[in-house]
């Protein structure tokens, strides 16, 4: 049983077993030491809160996200076996025997826009990734294929690209040329 009348090594209080351990606070603090610790602790806590609020300020994102459904013109404007780049949708629109399809021009590596090479496929000017005509990776630092994007027809007869909806590469929009 601890004898509380026993003095600790520094002679200031009950024996060592009864001493609390608080970071930054000396054992058996006198009033001055305690108030100093309280002051330092408050400053640290307030600084941490302030930095937290500044971080929240930085996280504000002004409104105005780009629309994800973009009209790209009438189906007749896309002829068979040619790829047309549409800047507003950042995609290549193509037509084959099954219908229309859209390939996302944003490189899956670090976001540059790929160029359509004469002949076949796509090449990225930033780090040299190469993709086949169907978006599959042929070469280069990119590891994921170019996305195919969902196509639909709007009420006024325009083809629309939905950039937030990737689809399987075989998907086609049946629309007459």
């Amino acid at each position: 049983m601890t004898d509380l009348n026993e003095r600790s090594a520094d002679g200031r209080g009950p024996g060592p077993e009864v001493r609390p351990t608080i970071v930054g606070l000396p054992p058996h603090p006198d009033r001055r030491e305690f108030l100093a610790w309280l002051t330092r602790g408050s400053l640290v806590a307030i600084s941490a809160l302030a930095i937290g609020q500044v971080a929240r300020f930085f996280s504000y994102e002004p409104a105005g996200e780009a629309p994800s459904v973009i009209p790209v013109g009438k189906p007749e404007t896309y002829t068979a076996d040619t790829l047309t780049y549409v800047g507003a949708a950042r995609s290549y629109i193509g037509r084959d025997s099954g219908g229309l399809y859209a390939i996302d021009a944003v490189c899956t590596h670090l976001g540059c826009l790929v160029e359509h090479s004469i002949g076949d496929g796509f090449a990225c000017p930033c780090h040299g990734s190469r993709f086949a005509a169907d978006g599959q990776v042929q070469n280069g630092p990119a590891s994921k294929a170019l996305r195919h994007l969902a196509l639909d027809v709007s009420p006024d007869g325009q083809v629309v690209v939905n950039r937030s909806q990737p689809v399987a590469p075989e998907t086609r929009l049946a629309a007459n040329s």
Partner: protein
């Protein structure tokens, strides 16, 4: 009174310093030249702020106003650009001088402040490039910020704070303008002052202590005279370059149009080369961070000895010097490959 009371400029300088280290051929004045270039950048930058507009629609146009319409705007912009590129070169040379002459010995904290200044200089150059908002630099911004996205865990959140939204746009340009003009510049100014102060507090310019007793010393007037000549020569080179070589200016950025060729700013060409052949997070984030960390711990891990200070190619520091030169050669080789494409 025994001596004249110095004005503020003289007061910043030590009253005397060892003659050997006061000579131009010891430090080549590289630290002082960096400071001079920083001041030039501040003055030319503030003047550009009177015309430059950080909006998507007006940024490229306002740069053209400075370049083609404002009287001497072309010179102002060229000086700002060339002072920036010269500064990156000069601070790297300064770092080389410090490593190769053992100047970090006994001053390891100031070495860390210096490394922070190196990072700030590169970030200031990069953010400045972006503000031009032409086709070359806009894509550097897209890839650079997408690199942040590859960081596991905090990446996407950090990306949104950096970019100010889900994708690069007006918020990004405005944030990069704020960083460039005050956020980074203010921190760099404070650290520059601290870095200079630490040189004096650590005992003046790093110098060898020969065993034969006190060495001859030069006075502050002589030091200031040497500095002034170096400053005039630097300004002459800067103005000469600015008159004869124009800062680049490409067509206004349009992030919906692919480009045939996209080049990183010259000081990040080595990273772009790495990104061509290695995974994005490794090449674009881990390797640059590793190089930076390795350089930062040079005086803590690779050369802890305090002997050999102020001695070019001193023996105790050979490992540190060797590693530093190896990094310089590797980065230069990658940069050359990027330039020659």
């Amino acid at each position: 009174m025994a001596h004249k009371r110095p004005n503020f400029f003289y007061h910043l300088h030590p009253p005397t310093l060892p003659e050997r280290e006061a000579r131009f051929g010891y430090t080549f004045g590289l630290g002082g030249i960096s400071l001079l270039l920083f001041l030039v950048l501040g003055v030319t930058g503030v003047l550009e702020m009177f015309i430059y507009v950080p909006t998507l629609t007006d940024a490229a146009e306002s740069v053209r106003q400075i370049t083609y319409l404002a009287p001497f705007g072309w010179l102002l912009r060229n000086m700002h650009y060339w002072a920036g590129q010269m500064m990156v070169g000069v601070v790297i040379l300064h770092m080389a001088r410090v490593v190769l002459s053992g100047g970090y010995k006994g001053r390891r904290f100031n070495w860390l402040i210096g490394m922070a200044l190196l990072a700030l200089t590169l970030l200031l150059d990069f953010t400045g490039y972006v503000l031009r908002w032409d086709q070359d630099t806009a894509w550097a911004l897209v890839t650079g910020t997408n690199l942040v996205n590859t960081i596991p865990g905090i990446g996407p959140a950090l990306y949104r704070v950096l970019v100010g939204g889900q994708a690069v746009g007006q918020a990004t340009l405005l944030r990069f303008y704020a960083w460039h003009v005050i956020g980074l510049a203010l921190v760099a100014a404070v650290f520059s002052g601290w870095h200079s102060f630490r040189v004096r507090r650590d005992g003046g310019i790093s110098h060898a202590e020969p065993a034969g007793g006190p060495t001859p010393r030069a006075g502050r007037e002589e030091l200031v005279r040497t500095e002034s000549i170096a400053a005039l020569l630097t300004l002459a080179a800067l103005v000469g370059l600015s008159i004869f070589v124009n800062a680049p200016l490409g067509p206004a950025a349009n992030l919906t149009v692919p480009v045939a060729e996209a080049r990183a700013p010259w000081f990040f060409l080595w990273v772009q080369e790495l990104l061509r052949s290695a995974p994005a997070f490794l090449a674009g984030v881990l390797v640059p961070l590793a190089v930076f960390t390795l350089l930062s711990v040079l005086p803590y891990v690779l050369d802890r000895r305090e002997t050999g200070i102020g001695e070019w190619f001193n023996r105790p520091g050979r490992l540190a010097q060797g590693l530093f030169l190896a990094i310089v050669i590797a980065v230069s080789a990658l940069t050359a490959r990027g330039l020659l494409r």
